[in-house]
Symmetry: C2
Subunit: 209 residues, 2 copies
């Protein structure tokens, strides 16, 4: 029973470092994080960090790429599925995204923040334009506009509203907690409620007047 899977019994040293790095980078950003702290959090020595990953920079890029892929990737996957309706996509997006962010609440602020410092280092190589603007979502959206089913506003305006309603609460969580005097558990409840509320709000918002 103990020799069945040697693989995941205990996270490998490499994994431990990456996990510690992710947590710290997400919380304090690139330049706010010290390699010494990563090493300590991972329970290993500073030299080992450079042994596995050549430099702080390389380790950072790894975490950053992962974050970006998760941030953009989780949208594109839903957006590009032609077997679901527009309404289903919205519901799926809210549900999946909120679950993901509940586990990594600091990720979006980290990604967006670092993206501002190093503007096109990352965006240029992943080219999100292709994926999103030609996605099934946009086609269905424009189709519905043409049929007069929903109000005619710029797709980007709509996407900003939708993604914003999902992501923004995680970005301002410290402020909202302070304002509403909520603890982390209270906050999670509010977020869970949004999984069902957002699709409703969006539908109301899109109606032609």
């Amino acid at each position: 029973m103990s020799d069945k899977k040697e693989k995941e019994v205990d996270p490998s040293t490499e994994e431990k470092i990456k996990n510690a790095a992710r947590a710290l980078f997400h919380q304090k950003g690139y330049s706010g994080t010290r390699t010494r702290d990563i090493a300590e959090a991972a329970g290993i020595n500073l030299a080992l960090l450079n042994y596995y990953f050549r430099s702080k920079q390389k380790l950072f890029e790894l975490v950053m790429i992962e974050g970006l892929l998760e941030f953009v990737g989780s949208i594109t996957k839903v957006f590009d599925d032609s077997t679901t309706t527009l309404e289903e996509k919205i519901r799926l997006l809210a549900s999946n995204y909120i679950d993901m962010l509940s586990e990594q609440p600091d990720m979006p602020l980290f990604v967006l923040s670092e993206l501002r410092s190093h503007p096109d280092t990352f965006l240029s190589k992943m080219n999100p334009q292709e994926f999103l603007m030609n996605s099934s979502f946009i086609k269905q959206y424009q189709q519905s506009v043409m049929e007069g089913k929903i109000a005619a506003i710029h797709p980007l305006q709509f996407i900003m509203n939708l993604i914003g309603m999902i992501v923004f609460p995680f970005i301002v969580s410290p402020m909202i907690k302070a304002i509403g005097n909520l603890d982390t558990a209270d906050y999670k409840v509010l977020m869970q409620q949004r999984k069902t509320l957002i699709p409703i709000w969006i539908e109301e918002m899109m109606q032609v007047k």
Copy 2:
């Protein structure tokens, strides 16, 4: 004509430093900004920075407090005005906030990002709970809910939606520009349109079904 106002002819050295610091801090965050760069951007010497402000830390706190006050303050001012209706407040908020952010687009990401690193260093001393939760806005909101005029959802959920629709587009601007292949001018147009669109969307969203 030239000796009328000696006050604002040319920004004082202190002002020049603070302006340079604000721009750089907003763009690169606290630990990503070097005092040398601030000095250079201000057109003065490094030693002068420490002469006017005792340390990088002190200078940062100044900029940070200013940002927080502007971020929270511009909300509270509108929220607390009992002479305007709920609908007017929403319109004012969108309009004022978007104008402000158009001039300092990097401010919210900076404030929120640094707030995460130093969680209660700042929020604890400004106590936004008092102001917001007892504001005229919340009272009018709850009044409308009781009268059945608008849907009954938690005020914080509603505030997150409203503020998020205003602020979030500025936070993801690099991404949206990349996706939509927009330049800065295009983007500003989208933001201006939101000044009139957001109140409409919000009203739709709030309607009882």
